[in-house]
């Protein structure tokens, strides 16, 4: 039962994060997930110090506020034009996180708020912390995670057009009268809320992993935005299940295990994606290269055929010298062309056939 609960919690987290992650990577703000997942800490701690209840929804509110403060401060520093945006992010979130850690060590060292659990979360604990809903005994985290998931779905559906437009053509969006700034802040709030709801159960690593890796894998698989959401969500769930068993097997933290699995799935798509994978790409390149060699050979022969120097230039055994190729390559290309009847041999002299000429014309 605990196993099922852990998988349930991490799957809910995975889907929320995966949905939020799609626009995050398209807007080239992936590292904001890392920054936000660190920067929410002081908000959580301050809220906790105020209400002294670890399950209070005020903690999520504090975290979201903290996330917005990060975004605001980053913009503020960036706007002074004294440092670039990347440096602005790199300045603000470590400072906020440091502040949070110092608050923990000064005021909460006796309470259950360990730095370690901030990073990897306490998914096992969340899984045995149960609540009765409609007669089902479910983890307490599930209602919160469901709300967050719903929030993600609603937000993305309502602002789908706006997000799409500001993401792909910010200038046009501004011309239509959308406010990119407002949308930016709204979207960042969504990321903060998603991050913190997941954070409590799954830790900050998992937030980063689940927001970026599934969405990036989906980006390698499709060009269709709607499909990208679907694939990203599925990859999130699959990673949760596999990651859980992986960490169960090696007796380690589920968050770390799931993060590793999302990475492996990304690696697989990176290598084997039928459209943008590394392997298909290098195969394509190889084919292009071969085609290019064939064309060069045919053109060379065609150029010199029926001229006085044809006997010198188009000699089968010497042609590599004129093309400045290695003998091995020349032999391969010539063999291939002979086999396909692009060229034919007559007393050691090569000539282009009709199909060879066609090859040259067809595939330009």
């Amino acid at each position: 039962m605990v196993e099922f609960n852990i998988i349930l919690i991490s799957s809910f987290t995975a889907v929320s994060c995966a949905i939020a992650g799609v626009f995050l990577i398209l807007r080239r703000m992936s590292l904001m997930s890392d920054a936000i997942s660190h920067a929410v800490l002081p908000g959580i701690i301050v809220a906790f110090l105020l209400v002294e209840d670890r399950t209070s929804p005020l903690l999520i509110f504090g975290a979201a506020l903290s996330g917005l403060i990060l975004v605001y401060l980053t913009e503020l520093i960036h706007k002074t034009k004294l440092v670039k945006e990347d440096a602005a992010v790199g300045l603000v979130f470590p400072a906020m996180f440091s502040f949070g850690v110092i608050l923990i060590t000064q005021y909460l060292s006796s309470v259950h708020f360990h730095e370690h659990s901030v990073l990897v979360g306490d998914i096992n604990l969340s899984a045995i912390n149960l609540i009765d809903i409609f007669g089902f005994s479910l983890p307490k985290a599930i209602p919160i995670l469901s709300v967050v998931l719903l929030l993600n779905i609603i937000f993305i559906s309502i602002f789908f057009k706006e997000l799409k437009l500001t993401t792909f053509d910010a200038g046009l969006a501004a011309a239509f009268g959308f406010s990119p700034v407002l949308l930016h802040y709204l979207f960042m709030s969504l990321i903060s809320i998603t991050a913190v709801a997941s954070f409590d159960t799954a830790g900050s690593i998992l937030v980063i992993a689940l927001m970026i890796a599934p969405a990036a894998s989906a980006y390698l698989l499709t060009n269709n935005l709607t499909l990208m959401f679907l694939i990203s969500g599925i990859i999130g769930i699959v990673s949760s299940v596999l990651g859980f068993y992986f960490s169960f097997w090696l007796n380690s933290t589920p968050s770390g295990g799931i993060a590793v699995i999302t990475g492996l799935i990304f690696l697989l798509t990176y290598l084997f994606s039928p459209k943008y994978g590394l392997i298909i790409k290098s195969l394509k390149q190889k084919r292009q290269r071969e085609e290019f060699y064939i064309k060069v050979l045919i053109m060379h022969i065609l150029n010199h055929q029926n001229t006085e120097i044809a006997e010198i230039e188009n000699q089968k055994s010497g042609i590599y010298h004129h093309l400045k190729w290695s003998g091995e390559r020349a032999e391969k290309v010539i063999d291939y062309c002979l086999k396909n009847n692009y060229i034919f041999e007559n007393h050691g002299i090569l000539s282009v056939s009709e199909s060879g000429k066609q090859f040259l014309n067809n595939r330009d």
Binding site: I25, R28, M29, S30, L31, S33, D34, I77, T80, L82, V83, K84, D86, A87, V89, G90, L91, P94, A95, F97, S98, V101, I102, T105, Q106, S109, E115, H116, L119, V120, G203, I205, L206, I208, A209, M211, I212, A213, A215, A216, Y219, L220, S247, L250, N251, S252, T253, S255, G256, G257, I258, A259, V260, T262, G263, F266, Y270, Y276, L278, K281
Partner: protein, 381 residues
């Protein structure tokens, strides 16, 4: 203060901490300059997080080989350097070979390497390998664990990194500001890039023990960001950045050793951030306050010159220079630009440029006339 100095000279741990923290600040400050100028500040974040995987992997490997937990920090540091460099190579490979953008590539690599590191770390902590306690200090840093041997190791690594920076100064500089030009004068883009990344990785790894993998990015970003405000010269910027790094490391580490329960990494980060805020506010050339003063002065100058020119024009075109002045309404009507005439007159009066000869009757003083002539001349030019 005297107590601290006394402690520094006599207390073995505190001395190690102080020297260690200074070295880490110095090295990360000077090399962070290049990360900052290349707009790759967040690379520090990726490298620092990623090094956790190397540290834990080496720990587990030696345990499997020797049956003992590794207490030997140089080996752990080596693991950190290697995994940091591999992480960055992966990032640039993913970015160049696929449609994935660099920010996503960095995020993914960070998540995998750090997630893997946390995975192994939790595994180690739940096992019963000896010496496992020291490992978790790599998360948030713990100055107290810096030993004499660590300081020695940090010095060697730091010296190598800074030496490389000196030797390849020209290459680093050209590559940072104009890699295309660099290539035309024979600076290999790929190799220089790898070299810069490697020395930055070394700088980051030096700081891991004191600051921790999560916050180390701040020491790569904050000192150069602060130093940038004070100068436009790369050499001077590097030196200032190194000094700021050193000061933050030193103050943070000493404070955390003296105050109980104060974590070292966060303290150092907050000191560095504080120095950045001071720099941004008070730097004489680019600072926010000097910018405000400049704006205030400009505004004042414009207010004066508008009213002054109008009054001068009025007085020159009426043959009444010696007799009486003009009311503020008249002066205001002279110019289509809408500005606060009363404010202008008050400022000008305080500077002795006009006299209020009767109620709301203003006249230029001799000084005012001279100034107005000057303004006319400037306009003429």
């Amino acid at each position: 203060m005297e107590d601290i100095i006394k402690l520094l000279l006599t207390d073995y741990t505190l001395r190690n901490v102080a020297i260690g923290a200074s070295i880490l600040g110095l090295v990360s400050g000077s090399l962070g300059t290049f990360a900052f100028l290349r707009k790759e500040s967040l690379m520090g974040d990726v490298v620092a997080h990623s090094s956790l995987l190397g540290i834990t992997l080496i720990f587990i490997l030696t345990y499997l080989l020797t049956g003992m937990g590794l207490k030997n920090e140089p080996m752990l540091m080596l693991g950190a350097v290697i995994s940091g460099i591999i992480a960055m190579i992966f990032v640039s490979k993913i970015t160049s070979d696929s449609r994935i953008k660099s920010d996503s590539a960095m995020g993914i690599i960070l998540a995998i390497f750090f997630g893997g590191g946390m995975f192994l770390l939790t595994m180690i902590q739940q096992s019963n390998i000896e010496n496992k306690a020291g490992l978790s200090s790599y998360l948030f840093g713990s100055a107290a664990t810096i030993s004499h041997q660590n300081v020695w190791m940090m010095s060697v690594l730091g010296f190598i990194a800074v030496l490389l920076m000196f030797i390849f100064w020209k290459e680093f500089k050209v590559h940072t500001f104009d890699p295309d030009f660099g290539e035309t004068i024979g600076v290999n883009r790929k190799n220089t890039n790898l070299l810069i990344i490697s020395v930055i990785v070394i700088a980051i790894v030096i700081g891991l023990q004191a600051v921790g993998v999560i916050l180390m990015v701040a020491l790569i970003v904050a000192p150069p960001s602060a130093a940038r405000q004070w100068t436009n010269n790369l050499k001077i910027m590097t030196i200032i950045s190194a000094i700021i790094g050193l000061v933050s490391g030193l103050i943070g580490a000493i404070a955390s050793s003296l105050v109980s329960n104060l974590p070292t990494g966060p303290t150092i980060v907050l000191v560095a951030t504080f120095i950045f805020i001071i720099s941004v506010l008070f730097s004489p050339k680019r600072g926010i306050i000097s910018e405000l003063i400049r704006k205030y002065k400009d505004k004042r100058r414009i207010l004066i010159s508008l009213a002054l020119s109008d009054m001068y024009y009025l007085e020159m075109n009426h043959d009444d220079r010696m007799s009486f002045g003009h009311s503020s309404k008249v002066i205001d009507k002279m110019n289509p630009i809408n500005y606060n005439i009363q404010k202008s007159l008050t400022i000008m009066k305080s500077e002795g440029l006009v006299n209020e000869v009767a109620k709301d009757n203003w006249k230029l003083t001799d000084k005012g006339i001279d100034r107005a002539k000057m303004i006319q001349q400037e306009k003429g030019n």
